[in-house]
Amino acid sequence: MSQTVNVTQAATREIAGPLLELTDVTTHFRTPRGMVRAVDGVSFTLDRGQSLGIVGESGSGKTILSRSIMGLLPTRGTERGGSIKFAGREVGNLGRKQMRTIWGKEMAMIFQDPMTSLNPLMKIGAQISEPLRIHLGMSHADAAATARRLLQDVRIPEPDRRLEQYPHELSGGMRQRVMIAIAMACGPTALFADEPTTALDVTVQAQILDLLGEQRRDRNMSLVLVTHDLGVVAGHTDEIAVMYGGKLVEKAPTRRLFAAMKMPYTEALLASIPKMADPSHTRLSVIGGRPPDLVHPPIGCRFAPRCPYAREKCQSDEPPLIATDDDPSHTFACWYPVGSPEYHESRERNAAKKVEAA
């Protein structure tokens, strides 16, 4: 690759501290119904080369959060707050013009639907080499050669032929590979993948996730994987953040989250995954009720109306995000976390009162 890449990468990679630091990030939308609190006070940090999975059901604010970090939200009717630091620099309040120097080169994004995220009227080769020529000032020949190498990197057979094809000539998995190649063209330090596998079938899904993990290691890139599927993040990210109703409710290293979750919502999410060991036709356990209304979110814990362990305190006071006693990297927001004595007690009490969640 040309020298410019090395310069920009070195510049962002040598600064000490986490790559991405979010402090109390809020994103609200003004609508005729009232203020929608899509993201409401999210804080976390992400180190260089680490990967983070953001999980949550539809409407939990995970996509809006990733777009807030990227600065890809419409400006009209949006109110943003808090601080987003990227490589030691505040990017939360940068304008379009300044963001343009960051987009592609330092942060890149892969979208959910590979069918619609490629320009239908441009050849694959042109779509990959365009950012190379704009951002890195490569010549046509250099860019074409790099595009070819990128296609090889994302395991596309016959790259020379593909460069000359249009998006409609490729399959969904192939197009998502092309999207990954485009996103990685300028060597970003952080890659946001917004449900990159939702539109693909399961076998292709695994290949794409493996490819993303591999590229992350090879390029020492940070990866944020946004998904509603815990199975997707399970084997592919270092840490998992669970979002509910616009808030971060639990964040832990992947293994720890699956083994010792604290938040009843995480527990319920995990319980709703079908297990191989179950006999067939076992009913899946579902989370009753519906996601909270983000215009008028519940007072107290937002999960309380659906939580089988909720008590009076949950409905009046909002639990803060605190670290567990034994692991500072495991944080959660719950008054009666899974496994605590009060948790068991409240479950029995609710069962006795026949209080069904929601």
């Binding site: 592609g104 890149a108 979208f111 995220s117 320009n119 441009m122 365009e130 485009i182 063209a185 006999p279």
Partner: protein
């Protein structure tokens, strides 16, 4: 989990033979309407170009513009169609067929010119207001709404008469001949519908994921407009342009009929205007120019429909 599952036996219906493509499809012959429109327009354009720029080639079927047909030693006014004068002759003993072909040049120039003016100006307004939205959109929408609220023929009438006056007063307007006046006014009439359709398309396109993907890779404004939006707008613009062409040609004929035509050569509208009083004794002098107009407008409309079908655009009305 040892129970064996027996698949129920389902009678599969015998495979129906695959529907056979018609001979026309297998030979890749376009449908009749398309074939007809293309042949008609290509034929008309070739004939009129030859008649105007290489008259010797078409000498055998056409007369020079100012020729008066003579029969029995005097000017043959209103001669019925015959082997020499296919469409008959007109009021001043001119050959109707030749005049139809000469007139086609002006008609086509005005039609294409006005469509281009509408497409460029309207397309620009549409893209700008659709892409930037906000107050830019509001102001340009007010402008296009104003244009749409005035009856188009009335607007053209007033503008052409006004331009006539202005041309007499200001010498720098002398380039603005009648052909230019009609082209510009009809172009202005076409601006509003074009702007509306392009704006609507831009509004939907700008929210598509590939535009956001380009933005997330750091593409700047002009890049997004010219590389992402404009190429994707071409199908819609092309379709509307073809439908609009037909309408503008008819509008030009309407203006000529009302007496605001090009003086020489006479366009179809003007020919109809001249001959209509004598339609009782010489139907051919009116009917044949009408037929030319009808078939030309029909051809453009059919082509517009075909393009819309190919590009899958819902009825875009002008």
């Amino acid at each position: 989990m040892t129970a064996t599952i027996e698949a129920p036996v389902v009678e599969m219906p015998a495979d129906a033979p695959p529907p056979k493509d018609s001979l026309r499809k297998r030979l890749h012959i376009p449908r009749f309407s398309v074939l007809f429109s293309v042949l008609w327009l290509v034929g008309l354009t070739t004939l009129t170009l030859l008649a105007n720029y290489a008259p010797s080639v078409v000498q055998s079927i056409m007369y020079p513009y100012s020729t008066k047909i003579r029969a029995n030693g005097k000017a043959a006014k209103y001669l019925a169609p015959n082997a020499q004068n296919w469409f008959g002759t007109g009021k001043s003993a001119e050959d109707i067929f030749s005049h139809c072909i000469y007139g086609a040049k002006v008609t086509l120039i005005i039609g294409v010119g006005a469509t281009l003016v509408g497409l460029i100006v309207g397309g620009f307004i549409g893209i700008v207001s659709g892409y930037f939205r906000g107050w830019t959109d509001r102001i340009s929408s007010i402008f296009t709404d104003c244009l749409l609220s005035i009856p188009p023929l009335l607007l053209a009438l007033i503008l052409i008469l006004r331009l006539d006056d202005l041309k007499d007063v200001y010498s720098w307007l002398s380039w603005c001949t009648r052909t230019w006046q009609i082209t510009l006014t009809l172009g202005l009439v076409a601006v509003a519908p074009f702007a509306r359709i392009v704006r609507a398309q831009t509004l939907t396109l700008r929210e598509r994921e590939f535009v956001m993907a380009a933005r997330s890779l750091g593409a700047n404004r002009s890049r997004i407009i010219f590389r992402e939006l404009l190429p994707n707008l071409v199908p819609a613009m092309l379709t509307v342009a073809f439908t609009g062409l037909g309408i503008l040609i008819a509008a030009e004929a309407g203006l000529a009929f009302l007496g605001l035509g090009v003086e020489s050569p006479h366009t179809w509208g003007k020919m109809i205007d001249i001959a209509r009083d004598d339609i009782d004794k010489a139907w051919w002098a009116t009917v044949f120019p009408c037929l030319m107009l009808f078939l030309t407008v029909l051809s453009f409309n059919l082509l517009g429909d075909e393009l819309a079908r190919r590009f899958d655009i819902r009825e875009a009305s002008v």
